[in-house]
Structures are given as structure tokens and as C-alpha cells.
């Protein structure tokens, strides 16, 4: 009886192990291959607006300023700042230090169609710790700036 019981336990254990292995395998596969599509554009949004302030066009290799950020006169610069030499886009976030709104610097790369937040001020620096993204959205809070990707079937435009 007891030997039969332990046999059954062993089988259960084996089954559970196998199940986990299969699930683990599927998870790894999903991570590796689920996001194989490429982004055609990355859109940078500020606040609750659904109109991107800046569009990074990975197909035609250009950065498009759609409109200026509304910023009070206390800030001397005009945002967004598009720096093509350093391949960065700088927006003014909502997070304030000593009453001054802080900038969020987004670096883009046409080669691997990726975007990374390289500078921002916030309590936990969550969005700059996200690293480089080619597909998942980068969300900066409390700066209220987000980067979202448009995936596409198009490989090139000529």
C-alpha cells in the first residue's frame, strides 16, 4: 500500500515537473519569438493626449515634430527638442524638483528600430530602467510621458 502510494506520488511529481517544463518552454519561446515583428514608428505622447508630440519614423529614418509642447514662459527652451546629431528627443515632463519641471530624454536608433529613455527625474526611475525597447511601451510616471510603437508588415519604403 505504502509502496503503491509512493509510486503514485512519484508519478504526480513527474507529471507536475513535466508540466512546468513544458509551460516554461512555451514561456521562453513566447518571449523569444512573440515580438519578432518590427516597429514602423515610435510615437511619443505627453499627458492624456492621443496625438503624439513626436513621431520617430523607422522606415524613412526621420523624426517628425507634430506640435510644440505647451509650456509656461518660465522655461526658456522650446519643447520638444530634437537633436539629430545625438539622436535624442527631449520633452518636458510633469515631475517637478524645487518647483521646476524636469526633462525626459529619449534616445532613438534607426538601425535596430529601438528607443530608450536615457535621462529622467522621478522617485523610482522606472522608465529609464526599462532599458532599450523595440516593441513594448515605455511609460514615464509621474512625468506623464510615454513611448508607444506601431508594428507593421512593411519592411521598407522606397
Amino acid at each position: 500500500m505504502s509502496s503503491k502510494m509512493s509510486m503514485k506520488n512519484k508519478r504526480d511529481l513527474l507529471l507536475v515537473t513535466l508540466l512546468f517544463t513544458i509551460l516554461g518552454g512555451i514561456f521562453i519561446l513566447f518571449r523569444l519569438f512573440a515580438f519578432q515583428g518590427e516597429a514602423s514608428t515610435a510615437n511619443i505622447y505627453y499627458g492624456t493626449s492621443n496625438n503624439p508630440v513626436v513621431t520617430i519614423d523607422f522606415i524613412n529614418y526621420r523624426v517628425i515634430r507634430n506640435y510644440d509642447q505647451q509650456v509656461s514662459n518660465d522655461y526658456s527652451d522650446n519643447y520638444p527638442i530634437i537633436d539629430e546629431a545625438n539622436r535624442t528627443v527631449t520633452l518636458l515632463g510633469d515631475y517637478e524638483l524645487n518647483g521646476v519641471r524636469q526633462i525626459v530624454v529619449i534616445e532613438y536608433n534607426f538601425g535596430n528600430k529601438s528607443v530608450q529613455i536615457i535621462q529622467e527625474q522621478s522617485p523610482n526611475h522606472i522608465c529609464s530602467r526599462e532599458g532599450i525597447s523595440t516593441s513594448f511601451p515605455l511609460i514615464c510616471l509621474p512625468n506623464r510621458i510615454r513611448v508607444e510603437f506601431d508594428m507593421t508588415d512593411v519592411d521598407f519604403t522606397v
Binding site: 508519478r11 513527474l14 513535466l18 517544463t21 513544458i22 518552454g25 512555451i26 521562453i28 519561446l29 523569444l32 519569438f33 519578432q36 522606415i59 524613412n60 529614418y61 526621420r62 534607426f110 538601425g111 535596430n112 508588415d153 512593411v154 519592411d155 521598407f156 519604403t157 522606397v158
Partner: protein
């Protein structure tokens, strides 16, 4: 029970072995410093060493042809080369020794000139510069949002180009004992390899990758020129390539159609990236050697073919041909050259000369 375990193991094996099918990995690199454009290369190979080797070779090719063909600056003092287009343009009428690679490139340009009945001509740089300067002035002027140029500027350009006498066959190439020479037989003619050197270099890169057994790759040389092998991500190895709409508006959208291609080069000559308007017509950087003016027969001419070395130059030539001349030319040369054409005409209709490639025009 044993059967159950076996099945499980089999299942796991299938899942993992499927994942291991792709042994090659993607390597991506890009260059900003050559041919006044952004060049990006994606290729699949099995090791970092091989990828580095390919990158070095490819960069060397673009770097060499950039140095040799630029007409903006002289060679650096420590350059490995004898002359470049800038320095040749300073020495009209002199017999100058040049490097073999530049010699072959100029020879190829002259062949394409003959092939296109003179519609492609590298010796009209002087005329091209007049139009380029007007376009640069207007596009650099942030206050001029309409891109419209005043009559005085246009008339001035016409006067300037009419004063330039274009001589035929100004380029004389010769070689003796393994030395190569050029003589530009004119007091004023200026050479401009802008419409050929990038495609020519890309062809060298393309042949290199094929020879190296790289099957999955793509080269994007600027916004209007690509060369592709097979696409690893899609059945049939196909790349989906959209054709940029040169008269973009909200209704027509950004692209006017799609082509499905692999193992081929595709390049578009167009009037829409840099141009000025005069009386509603676009004056752009592709200047007809016949009229000395930018012509308004097409908004874009897209050409597909295996020999990338001629694609850029031929599309430039076709752009200045009236529709009937182009059509007759295609009838004569399409088969031999193995090329296909998609024209976005000035009246926004589309004409195609396709043999194998599938083209889908977007509706609306």
C-alpha cells in the same frame, strides 16, 4: 506510464528543436558618414567574428567610394588615393592619373550614358549645381513655407544654365602600363557621380555578401534605395516594400502601393524630397542633360533589378525622358537589363513595366 513519459519527452524535444532551427543570428550596423546618407545593413550570420568581418568590408567599400566620388571636399592629405572628383574638377583639360577603382566607375558611368542615349551624364555637374543651390537656399529658408520661388530667381537660373555650353564627350579615359588616366576636355565642365556611386558601391557589397554565402540580408542605402537578399522572417523570403507617395495628402495616405521582393535591388528617383515650386511646378535635383532643366514628366520612377550598379543611374536617366521616349527605351532594353519599372506620373496616374514582381496599388 513509460509511454506517457516518452510522449512528453517527444513533445518537449519538438518544441525545443523547432526553436533551434535558426542557428544564424541577426547583426545590424549602420553608417552615417558616407554618400551623404544613412546606410543601414541587417544580416544573418553564425558568429560575431564573421559579422565583424562583413561590417569592416562593407564600411571599407562605402568609405572608399565616398572618398573617391565626393565633389565637396579634397582627399585628405594622408589619403590612400590619387585623386577624387573634387580634385579632378579643379584640373580641367589636364591628363590626371587616377586609381583603377575610380577609373572603372567613370568608365561604367560613360557606358550608362551611351546606354541611355545621353539622358544620364556625369559631366553636367555645373548645371546640376545651379539647381541644387536654389533648392538648398529655399529649403534652408524657414520663412519660405510654400517653397515657391520668385520669378527673378527662376529667370536668373534660366539665364545661368543657358550660358553654360554643354560639350559632348568631354571625358577621355586612357591607360598605359597599369596606370589609369582621365582628361576632362573642357574649360568648365564639372563631374558629379552623385547618381551612381552609391548604387555602384552597394552592388559591390551585394556581390560580396552573396559570395560569402550570406542569404538573409538587407541593405538600406538612404531613404530611396534598398538591396535585399531573403527575408528570414517571412515565408518565401519576401520583403514587403512600400512605395512612398510623392504627392502625400490626408486622403491618399503615405504610400501608394506595395511590392513583394527578394534577391533584388529597388531604387526610386523622385522630385519630392527636395524641390522648389515655380508656377505650381516642382523643380528638383534631377536635371535633364538634354534641356538643362528639371523635368516634370513624373513624380517618381522606381526601378527594380539585379544590377544595382546601374539602377540609380538608369532611374535618374528615365526621370528626364518624356513618357514615349521612356516607353520605347524600355521596350528595347528591359529584357537585356532585367529591369522592371513603376512610374508615378506627374498627373498622378501609375504606369508599370513589370515582368515578375507583384505590385499592389492601394485604392483611394
Amino acid at each position: 506510464m513509460k509511454k506517457g513519459i516518452s510522449i512528453c519527452i517527444l513533445l518537449i524535444s519538438i518544441i525545443f528543436l523547432t526553436a533551434c532551427k535558426k542557428t544564424d543570428t541577426l547583426y545590424e550596423f549602420s553608417f552615417y558618414d558616407y554618400m551623404d546618407t544613412y546606410i543601414s545593413v541587417n544580416l544573418y550570420t553564425d558568429s560575431q567574428e564573421k559579422a565583424d568581418e562583413h561590417q569592416t568590408y562593407i564600411e571599407d567599400v562605402y568609405s572608399e567610394y565616398h572618398e573617391l566620388s565626393t565633389n565637396y571636399e579634397p582627399l585628405k592629405t594622408d589619403s590612400a588615393y590619387l585623386e577624387n572628383i573634387y580634385s579632378i574638377n579643379q584640373k580641367n583639360n589636364q591628363v590626371i592619373e587616377i586609381d583603377y577603382d575610380l577609373y572603372v566607375l567613370i568608365q561604367k558611368s560613360e557606358e550608362i550614358k551611351t546606354l541611355t542615349d545621353g539622358y544620364f551624364d556625369i559631366s553636367v555637374g555645373e548645371v546640376v549645381n545651379i539647381w541644387k543651390n536654389i533648392i538648398l537656399d529655399v529649403n534652408g529658408d524657414e520663412e519660405n513655407t510654400t517653397k515657391e520661388i520668385p520669378e527673378t530667381v527662376f529667370q536668373n537660373a534660366l539665364t545661368q544654365v543657358s550660358e553654360i555650353e554643354l560639350e559632348s564627350n568631354v571625358i577621355e579615359l586612357s591607360d598605359t602600363d597599369g596606370h589609369y588616366y582621365i582628361q576632362v576636355k573642357s574649360t568648365h565642365a564639372q563631374l558629379d557621380l552623385g547618381a551612381i556611386s552609391k548604387g555602384y558601391a552597394t552592388q559591390i557589397v551585394y556581390e560580396y555578401l552573396v559570395e560569402q554565402g550570406v542569404k538573409y540580408f538587407s541593405i538600406s542605402a538612404g531613404s530611396s534605395s534598398i538591396a535585399v537578399g531573403q527575408n528570414i522572417k517571412r515565408d518565401g523570403g519576401v520583403f514587403n516594400v512600400e512605395l512612398d507617395n510623392p504627392v502625400k495628402n490626408e486622403i491618399a495616405g503615405q504610400a501608394y502601393g506595395m511590392i513583394y521582393v527578394n534577391d533584388i535591388g529597388v531604387t526610386t528617383s523622385g522630385n519630392y524630397e527636395q524641390y522648389v515650386l515655380y508656377q505650381g511646378l516642382r523643380y528638383h535635383h534631377i536635371v535633364s542633360p538634354k534641356t538643362k532643366l528639371p523635368m516634370q514628366y513624373y513624380h517618381t520612377v522606381t526601378i527594380l533589378g539585379q544590377d544595382l550598379g546601374i539602377l540609380d543611374a538608369v532611374s535618374t536617366a528615365l526621370f528626364s525622358m518624356p513618357a514615349q521616349v521612356l516607353s520605347d527605351w524600355i521596350a528595347l532594353h528591359q529584357e537585356v537589363l532585367g529591369i522592371e519599372i513603376i512610374q508615378f506620373n506627374y498627373d498622378t496616374t501609375i504606369t508599370t513595366y513589370l515582368t515578375d514582381t507583384v505590385f499592389e496599388e492601394y485604392s483611394g
